[in-house]
Amino acid sequence: MITNYKPGHKLIQRTVVKTGFLALGRAIESASNFEENVKKEIKDWNDGFTFTMNVLPYGPNLAMRKKNGVLKMIRLKKNETADLIVEIKNLSTAFRMITTQMGAHHVFAQNKIGVSGNIADSMRFIRIVYTVEAYMFPKILNKNILKKSPKMDMKKHFNRWHIYTKGMILGK
């Protein structure tokens, strides 16, 4: 008879998600500096606007705040709340998302994500993630996670190069 069973941990998934969130965060920081679509999306957010994407129940999480017109990754203090809270209901879902097996719209469709905050803000957040993911991943992977892969022109190739080099390393 098994009693008082305490579940173990999915260490590999956790590490992958953690690294993925970090890369996504850096890419968003970087894109918020120069990428037109991302800049347009965050225009209506006041400085100080904060969003966080948490994996339930223990994380990892990605929290970002608008500061001086651009997005910066931050660490939320205990009891500190955010304007927009996106909660992924379990680690496996976050893992599939970050490894491009599932797009954000699928995660929503499967009811595996919960949002607290304004609907318009969540739509902006999702579009930012879409935009940045389109740069992060090659087209063949994008097909899984985006409803429509954007056409890559010269400028977009330059943006992608920028995000790969300075962006994901330095967040610039």
Partner: protein
């Protein structure tokens, strides 16, 4: 194709048909309640429906704690707060919502306030934030369209901050939905038409959007069949009891379908038309539905094609070549609109419904930020929305 994963929930008991209202006292007792509040609006009182409902309690051991019939057309935070005060003052122990979308949403807001024992429901905005046991809650719809009696969402307007607050939680679902044909008998043709087209839109979007699943498909196609057979008849002859009852069933089934599989771009653009130009929700749905389907057709054509069967029957399905079916389905919806327009003058163009060209930009921007855009399988850019508006103008 089945989805890789889906969730489906409908715990609402449905009491439907002759003398359905008279079952309410028993249901309340089952939930240990005996002093309900009735939340409704002036239109319902003036139409005599409140009186019918009150009379249905005769010879029962229920006391109606208080009746609130001043719900505004858009459910508001202030109203929710006022009603909660009345609820507490009159020691009520259950909620009965009587009406269309607004009394339902308002009642859901009151249920949050009372059950979470709070004075500010804003703390519970968002998805799955409710943790307490809710008050017994019975919904009596008086239109056949919104499906609110079986949906887990409430939208409440915060006048102070001028924002619409969404609340979603399975705890907002009523315990019982009462479909009594007496409640929809006197609906004027135009409202019958618009709300009926809203129900059709719920079913079609539920059947075609990203969250579709075999359970919601079953409800959606059953709803479409009833709408195809009955909507025009009930607009022609509002006293047709059977057709009225069929539409009430259709609307509830479409509600169950879309509460589980969400709606798409028709709703996103329609909500925006409502917010910007105050176009009636059902009317906006009727007008936009065929044009959004035309936009979606290259992605969703196969699914539209299947829907000829429930909407128009096997003969028309079989008589249409496979490659022409999706276009045929869109055409069927258009000709339904045309007939409705001839019968009751419901507008079938955005210009007739009061939208101005200058408002296109604002409608498009608003629509892109509407949550219903997300489950739409085909991505819409601002230009795509503008094009749909242009075509529906």
């Amino acid at each position: 194709m089945l989805p890789k994963y889906y969730e489906f929930q409908n715990p609402v008991k449905i009491n439907a048909g002759m003398d359905a209202l008279e079952t309410i006292p028993y249901e309340l007792k089952q939930m240990n309640a005996s002093r309900p509040i009735i939340i409704t609006d002036k239109g319902i009182t003036n139409a005599g429906l409140l009186k019918t409902v009150l009379n249905s309690f005769d010879d029962s051991d229920i006391t109606i704690g208080v009746v609130f019939d001043e719900t505004p057309p858009d459910s508001s935070l202030k109203t929710v707060n006022n009603i909660a005060k009345l609820y507490r003052k009159h020691k009520c122990d259950a909620i009965i919502a009587l009406g269309g979308g607004s009394p339902m949403d308002t009642a859901k807001g009151v249920n949050i306030l009372i059950s979470e024992n709070t004075d500010d429901i804003r703390k519970f905005m968002g998805a799955d934030r409710l943790k307490s046991n809710m008050q017994p809650f019975i919904a009596i719809p008086t239109t056949s369209g919104t499906g609110s009696e079986v949906t887990l969402v409430a939208v409440i307007y915060d006048e102070e901050n001028q924002v619409k607050m969404p609340f979603t939680s399975s705890k907002l679902l009523p315990d019982v939905a009462v479909l009594d044909p007496r409640m929809t008998m006197d609906l004027p043709p135009k409202i019958t038409a618009a709300t009926g087209m809203d129900a059709l839109t719920h079913a079609i979007e539920a059947y075609t959007c990203l969250q579709k699943n075999p359970m919601s498909d079953a409800y959606a196609t059953a709803a479409i069949k009833l709408i195809g057979e009955n909507l025009l008849n009930v607009i022609k002859d509002g006293k047709n009891k059977e057709a009225r009852f069929a539409m009430a069933n259709a609307s509830t089934m479409a509600g169950i379908a879309f509460s589980n599989s969400m709606v798409g771009a028709v709703h996103a653009i329609g909500h925006a038309c409502g917010a910007v130009a105050h176009i009636h929700h059902g009317t906006a749905m009727a007008i936009l539905l065929p044009y959004v389907m035309e936009f979606n057709n290259d992605v969703l054509g196969d699914l539209y094609a299947e829907l000829i069967l429930p909407l128009a029957g096997a003969d028309i399905y079989a008589a249409t070549g496979a490659s022409k079916r999706s276009q045929k389905f869109i055409g069927l919806v258009k000709s339904m609109n045309q007939k409705i327009n001839e019968l009751c003058k419901m507008p079938i163009r955005l210009s007739e419904a009061g939208l101005k060209k200058e408002q296109f930009e604002q409608v498009a921007e608003t629509a892109l930020n509407d949550g219903a855009m997300l489950p739409n399988p085909k991505e819409l850019s601002k230009n795509d929305v503008l094009e749909v508006l242009e075509r529906a103008f």
